[in-house]
Amino acid sequence: MIRLRLILVMLLQLAGLMALNLVGRWIAHTLRLPVPGNVVGMVILFVLLLTRLVRLEWIDATATVFNRHLAFFFIPIAVGLLGYGSVIRTDGAAMILIAVITVTAGIAATGAVVTWCQRTSQRDP
């Protein structure tokens, strides 16, 4: 009985997340925003939570499942790489080399800037 109730609650929460996604897409489309609709939906939910128009427990159970299993939902797109054998054979090595260099640069830059900002603000409070 409790199980069934939880499932119903989670389905309602899923409907809520889907509705926010739709609203986000509609806003992004109507206002011609450069940001995709799902990101607009994320920002809307964050604002609704901050302003307490939506309480965390209204959305929590389903949101937690999505966050824990996010990787599952992009497996099918990654599987699509099966049709890209020739691209990977010709450009794969260069792609990985570029990824290694830029990921290294990005991580070093981020870490250094955060550390630098923290030191500067500590020095003159």
Binding site: V35, P36, P76
Partner: protein
């Protein structure tokens, strides 16, 4: 005919769920960047649909259904972000400065290198999105005329490289602060970076989770501009 398609779709979803569950089981027993679910499950599904002759065409309908949920899944990212908003308020300037700089460095260097290596314009554009979390990068792909599948591949591979290189690189650079390490991993390696940061501690994980959400917004805002200027 339609019964056959329904059966094919249900089988494809079952294969995906099975591969994911098995990868998670392996990943929990042998934690390593190489055993993250998407990295293990994707080749598993590829092998199964090839061997069973379902093929990409048979699998695509199931793919579309699963992929649809990337929309609400992205909306749900607001929840961990909201839970950890305290960490953002306490570290607003360093965190934001770090994630914007890191995103711009990774984006511009990737697009320029891809161009230097003579990659196609579509691939250069795909490279501009590679640090964003996969659901956002995939949704943004059409806006910069990049192929969503290649974008997804680049996101997964570079997130994996980031979690393999990141912790050692940061230690070698004597970057020890939790916020700095978490912001770097979350900005560049998104979801996989958050998982890696949580291993280091709660504050590192929280910083990574916030950075992932904010960096995703920064990537979608900047990608069209960066592609127009540099690609």
């Amino acid at each position: 005919m339609s019964a056959r398609i329904t059966l094919l779709t249900a089988t494809s979803i079952a294969i995906t769920v099975g591969a994911y569950a098995l990868s998670r089981w392996i990943g929990i027993r042998r934690p390593s960047p190489l055993t993250v679910p998407v990295f293990l499950a994707t080749p598993m599904v590829m092998v199964v649909i090839t061997v069973t002759h379902i093929g990409l065409s048979g699998y695509s309908r199931a793919g579309g259904i699963v992929t649809y949920f990337l929309g609400p899944a992205t909306v749900a990212l607001a929840v961990p972000f909201y839970r950890r908003r305290r960490v953002l308020l306490d570290n607003m300037v360093p965190l934001c400065a770090g994630l914007v700089t890191g995103t711009v460095v990774a984006m511009v260097s990737a697009v320029l290198l891809a161009r230097l290596f003579g990659q196609s314009h579509a691939l250069q554009a795909a490279f501009s999105l590679k640090t964003a979390t996969a659901p956002v990068a995939i949704a943004e792909a059409p806006q910069v005329y990049a192929d969503p599948t290649l974008v997804a591949g680049l996101v997964v591979v570079s997130a994996l490289l980031g979690t393999m290189i990141g912790p050692k690189l940061l230690s070698a650079l004597r970057i020890k602060g939790s916020v700095a390490r978490g912001t770097a991993l979350g900005t560049i390696s998104s979801g996989q970076g958050v998982a890696q940061s949580l291993v280091e501690g709660e504050l590192t994980g929280a910083s990574a989770s916030i950075s992932m959400a904010l960096a995703a917004i920064v990537v979608t805002l900047l990608a069209p501009v960066v592609v127009r200027i540099f690609a």
